[in-house]
C-alpha cells in the first residue's frame, strides 16, 4: 500500500491518500482547518494563508501542502490561531466590509470565519479604500468593496464555467478583480447561474434581486459555526 500516508494533526494520527493536500486529508478525517481561498471543487490556490499550519515546525498553507509520511502537523495551537485571526482581521481592514448593510451577512464565509475565531474587532487600523462597483450586468453585481482577492471566481470561471470572465489586474494594494470585457461585466459571457458566483465566499459577486430572500437570523452561519459539517 504505497498510496496511503500516515500523519499526525494536533496529535491525532490520520490516514490520507498520497497526493492529497493537508486540508483535504484533515477534512476527510473530520478535522476542520479554517480556510477562505480554498474550495473543495476548485484547484488549490494558496493566497489567503488562513489555513496556515505548521508541518514539522515550518509554517505551510494546508491547502497547497501535500501530505507526507510521518508529518507532524500543528493546527489549533494558540500561536496559529493568533496568526489566523490576524490574517482575517487584515482582510476586514483592507476592504469595506459593512456587514449590517450586506446581503451576504450570515452566509458569508469571511464573517463566519471571524465568528469562529472569536474576532470582536481588528487590531489593525481600517484603510477605507475606494473601490469600484460594476452593476452593468442585468443579473449580477460585482461589489469590489467586499472582495478578498481569493480568486475563487477566477478559478471557477476558467475551470468550471469555461468562460474566463474574471482575472486580477494591478499589484500589491492596487490588485483588484477585473472582468474580461471593455464594457464591464455586461460585456462578458458571465451568467447568474455560473459557478463563479456560487463559490464567492463574500458578498462581492452576487445575484441581483435575491439578496434578502432568506432573512437575516435564518442563514447558514447564524446558528451553526463554519466547519461544523466536517
Amino acid at each position: 500500500m504505497t498510496d496511503s500516508v500516515k500523519l499526525k494533526i494536533d496529535g491525532k494520527e490520520i490516514t490520507a491518500k498520497a497526493g492529497q493536500t493537508i486540508l483535504q486529508a484533515a477534512a476527510m478525517a473530520g478535522i476542520y482547518i479554517p480556510h477562505l481561498c480554498a474550495h473543495r471543487e476548485l484547484e488549490p490556490w494558496g493566497s489567503c494563508r488562513v489555513c496556515t499550519v505548521k508541518v514539522n515546525g515550518r509554517p505551510q498553507a494546508a491547502c497547497t501542502q501535500p501530505v507526507a509520511e510521518g508529518a507532524v502537523v500543528e493546527s489549533e495551537t494558540p500561536e496559529l490561531v493568533n496568526v489566523r485571526r490576524a490574517l482575517v482581521e487584515m482582510l476586514f481592514v483592507e476592504g469595506n466590509h459593512v456587514c449590517p448593510s450586506c446581503e451576504k451577512s450570515g452566509n458569508c464565509e469571511l464573517q463566519a470565519t471571524a465568528y469562529r475565531l472569536g474576532i470582536a474587532a481588528p487590531r489593525f487600523p481600517y484603510t477605507f479604500p475606494k473601490r469600484e462597483i460594476d452593476a452593468s450586468h442585468p443579473d449580477i453585481i460585482l461589489e469590489r468593496n467586499r472582495c478578498i482577492l481569493c480568486a475563487r471566481c477566477v478559478r471557477a470561471s476558467t475551470e468550471v464555467d469555461g468562460k474566463h470572465a474574471f482575472d486580477f489586474v494591478g499589484r500589491g494594494v492596487h490588485k483588484r478583480i477585473a472582468v474580461n470585457a471593455e464594457a464591464g461585466l455586461a460585456g462578458t459571457s458571465a451568467a447568474a447561474t455560473d459557478k463563479a458566483l456560487s463559490v464567492c465566499p463574500v458578498g462581492c459577486l452576487m445575484k441581483k434581486r435575491v439578496g434578502f430572500a432568506v432573512p437575516v437570523g435564518q442563514r447558514q452561519f447564524d446558528e451553526k459555526q463554519i466547519g461544523s459539517e466536517i
Binding site: P100, Q111, A120, A121, P122, F128
Partner: protein, 181 residues
C-alpha cells in the same frame, strides 16, 4: 457602598444600540438594582457627576464633538465598551470615508437630486460640530476595553456583558451572541 455608575452615549450612531439596551425589558429593573446611570441619554444627565465603572459607547467618531465626548468618557470611566458596528468600525456612516469630505458636503447641500438650497451655502456655524475628514472607530481614538459586535448587539449580548463585568467574571459570550449584523 454606593452602586457602580454606568454612563452611555450615542455619537455617530442611530440610537439603535440604546434601543437594544432598553430591549433587556424587565431586566432593567434588576439592572438599576446593580448600577446607577450617570451621564446618559436614558436619564438626560448631561455631564459626569463622578467616576464611572463602565462607559457604553454607541457610534463612531465623525465630528469634533464626538471626539471630545469620547475623550471625556475615557477620562471618567474605568471600562469602555464599544457597542455596535458603528463604534467598532464606523458602520454605515463610514461609507463616506472613501469620498473626500468636500465632495460629501457638496452632494449633501449643493448638488444632491433632492436639495433645495437657493443660497447655495454649505452650513458653517460655530454651533455646528465640525466634521472630521472621516468617521473613526472608537478604538482608533482612545483605548477601548471590550467590543460588542452587532447592528445592534442583541439585548442578551449587552445584558450578559454587563452582568459579567459587574460581578467580576470574564466576558465569555456564546457563538450565538457574536454577530456583525
Amino acid at each position: 457602598m454606593s452602586k457602580p455608575k454606568v454612563a452611555t452615549t450615542s455619537m455617530c450612531g442611530c440610537f439603535g444600540c440604546h434601543m437594544s439596551i432598553l430591549d433587556i425589558d424587565d431586566r432593567i429593573l434588576k439592572l438599576v438594582e446593580l448600577i446607577e446611570f450617570d451621564k446618559s441619554p436614558i436619564n438626560d444627565i448631561k455631564s459626569f457627576t463622578g467616576r464611572c465603572a463602565i462607559g457604553l459607547l454607541e457610534g463612531g467618531v465623525a465630528n469634533d464633538e464626538n471626539y471630545h465626548v469620547l475623550k471625556a468618557f475615557r477620562e471618567n470611566c474605568d471600562i469602555l465598551i464599544s457597542v455596535g458596528e458603528c463604534a467598532k468600525n464606523g458602520g454605515v456612516p463610514a461609507l463616506r470615508n472613501p469620498i473626500p469630505l468636500q465632495e460629501c458636503l457638496e452632494e449633501a447641500y449643493l448638488r444632491g437630486p433632492t436639495v433645495y438650497n437657493p443660497l447655495q451655502v454649505i452650513p458653517n456655524d460655530v454651533e455646528i460640530p465640525l466634521l472630521l475628514d472621516k468617521v473613526y472607530p472608537c478604538h482608533e481614538v482612545v483605548k477601548i476595553d471590550y467590543h460588542l459586535a452587532g447592528c445592534p448587539p442583541s439585548a442578551d449580548t449587552i445584558w450578559e456583558t454587563l452582568v459579567a463585568l459587574l460581578s467580576g467574571k470574564p466576558v465569555a459570550l456564546p457563538y450565538s451572541l457574536l454577530k456583525y449584523d
